[in-house]
Amino acid sequence: MIRIIIGAAAAASLAACTANAGDKPRSASAAPAKSGPGVGKGYDRNPYPSTYKAYPGVPTLLTNVTILDGEGGRIERGAVLFRDGKIVEVGPSIDAPEGAVVIDGAGKYVTPGVIDVHSHLGDYPSPGVQAHSDGNEITGPVTPEVWAEHSVWPQDPGFSRALANGGVTTLQILPGSANLFGGRSVTLKNVYARTMQGMKFPGAPYGLKMACGENPKRVYGGRGRMPSTRMGNIALDRGTWAKAVEYKRRWDRYEENGGEAPARDMAMETLRGVLAGEIIVHNHCYRADEMAIVLDMAKEFGYKVGTFHHAVEAYKIADLLKERGTCAAVWADWWGFKMESYDAIEENLAILEREGACGMIHSDDANGIQRLNQEISKVRAAAKRAGFVIPEEIAWKWAAITPAKALGIDAVTGSLKPGKMADVVLWNGNPFSVYTRPEKVWIDGALLYDMHNPKLRPVSDFELGQPGSGDVK
């Protein structure tokens, strides 16, 4: 857990800091060209495109099963039909189309696949040796130019555990939190591929990882450089945003009016994407007071904070988060590992839900991602004792439609609605119970895990021929 926070990262930083590559590119041409390249066409926004292709499936009808649709809906003894990779129908009873596989789900639950908005799989893979430690570009506090996808090792054995034990179908891989601006995130479908691009979620927007608080100030303060304090964190953040605003102004002018293109700056390009609303901010931030400051900073520079991650004290400012339309992604019961996690309470998510703020579960952990269903169950149970009764179907939003919204992919996944990707988990009991396991997991309608079929259990290249290879794990 702590490993993720700053990474076991190399003390020996080879590269000089390239983080503040903010030297002003000069625009030599005073007179704009007659026609510009066009708005949004100054450079390729998607140079490493997804090559993910859904695997083939068969028309499948799940019957007689408890359905939590991921958006708050629930059907007892209902049915779900999917075909050609898409959800076709969800209802109390559906006639089996010809040729469909029909599965009787008596006593079982069906949910949309679990979506983890905060993972480092692939960037901090197993085995966690230094040679694999690729999640934090810990050589400078401002590195919005790095992209997590360029670190993802698609053979991480962790992907299979998240699938088979956790029913995870989609996950966001974020840079670590050593840096104020950690870089771009990438959203993946949890389907092994030879390349990162083969896992990349088609059309998902990029995210920008930012971090508040103890980690950046500890990492860089420990090296005798800025930031060494929380005020240093914000000062460096503001200075960077100010440059980004200027960079955006120059590029916007060029894209609108033409002329000579300003020099490209990869760090500023990411921030321009945020200011333009194309890239979603995912901000590691624990304390209520710091989240409030960040929200005002966002207002100052004209961007929106999509989601605060870890957000241990979100419950203290549920009203503020609601007012600003910013989500909180949280754990159920992590606490006390550093000062900014000292005030964690298990009802955090439940208080957000009751107050009408946007909250969701997240893992940040290669083990935790295998049991997010149990984590939301903990929140429900703690909340119930405290007097917040949250129905199962509402709690499942925390692992489904809400993280999908946070990732900007809710139009295509995150719930069992006709037309959406058939990302589906059949649980062998109530998924809020410790005794329940995923029985089958479909991604885009393809059956990619089946508890009863040893052949439907992925083994990454790394594990082939190793001790325990192909075991149930």
Binding site: S126, R385, G387, V434, P454
Partner: protein
Amino acid sequence: MKKLLMAAAAFGTALPAAAQTVAVTNAKLVIGDGSAPVEGGTVLVRDGRVVAAGPGVTVPAGVPVIDAEGRWVTPGIFAGFTRLGIVEVDGVSETDDSAASSSPFNAALDISPAVNPKTSAITLNRAEGVTRAVVAPEARGSIFAGQGAVIDLGADMDAVSKPRAFQFMEYGETGARRAGGSRPAAIALFRNALFEARDYARNPASFADRGKDALLTRADALALQPVVTGQVPLLVHVERASDILVMLDLKREVPALKLVLVGAEEGWTVARQIAAAKVPVLASALADLPASFEQLAATQSNIGRMQAAGVTVGIGTINDNEARQARLVKQYAGNLVALTKVPGASGLDWGQAFATISSKPAEAMGMGGEFGSLRPGRRGDIVLWDGDPLEIGTAAVRVFIDGVEQPVETRQDLLRKRYFDPKEGALPKAYER
């Protein structure tokens, strides 16, 4: 604990009623020895110890009785390997007494005086039904971490049930690093320590004068002496199968060693040998990733397979939030039950699963006669739950340690109450308490 209670009472400190004699009746009763729960059970505690537990127990007159109303009653959770009570906040080094990288001493370090019964982790874990814990120091300057303790999680100032209860040692990748860079270096260090501890035993007086040539301080040699003679168990953290076999070889060489394996994620691959050597294990429960090259064969079926092979296995939480999250062992044990429904996996039935967090870890420590179950003679550590204790969200309703009822409110509870309505009112939140 009893002693302190009386002392505290004399000073007028607010403490739970010192009812060391108590009976809980009408319970769904779990003994903790691997047997299934029984309905309509009673447990009787007198002077802090279990007198009897089962369906046919009669309560003598005058004993205070608690009617469980059919709810689950179990022994308190015995957390098999933790760092409870010696760390407040991991990220604040001043509060962390688990390791001492700059100390000239290693095996001699005794964790007992560092245990702070008021650490928030003790309060919180007590509130979740953890009543005893194995507390180990962490190795930094040597393969030897020092002498660990068994503690209770009571709300008094006397936490240490047994000081210097074991020596903790690192082998495998961590041990290699601590010894100077390799497994052979760790073995050499271990052998040398054995020699020196024996030398010390033969002639303690000579040991003081060896000056800088000594590879072991006098205090360290003294601490290792009971390890060599088997009076005190040696807990060794080891993950890889081949490393486990090396430890079993050492035990053959020094049969007096009371060896206990900690971690043992590849234990299932050599389970027969572990069982034959009668070496118990405090294993990680749900670790199923090849997190390092010494854990390639890690699987959640590890504990089930070892126990099927006849190994005594309890759950320990090494490298697993061990300073704060001992409470998670309940969830881990529940997950081992879930595995019984997965083809190809090895899980545990409910009774066995509960034993991995009660009697089994106590037995692994050689303390099964004292802790971990409701068999007669054990400490009166009892928890009354509002449901199945291995199920998510089940709460400990009442917690007894040595027969004394314990408070279960935490600062998290107070925070939740304060922010039940997050908005500020007529006065700042700081005035709500």
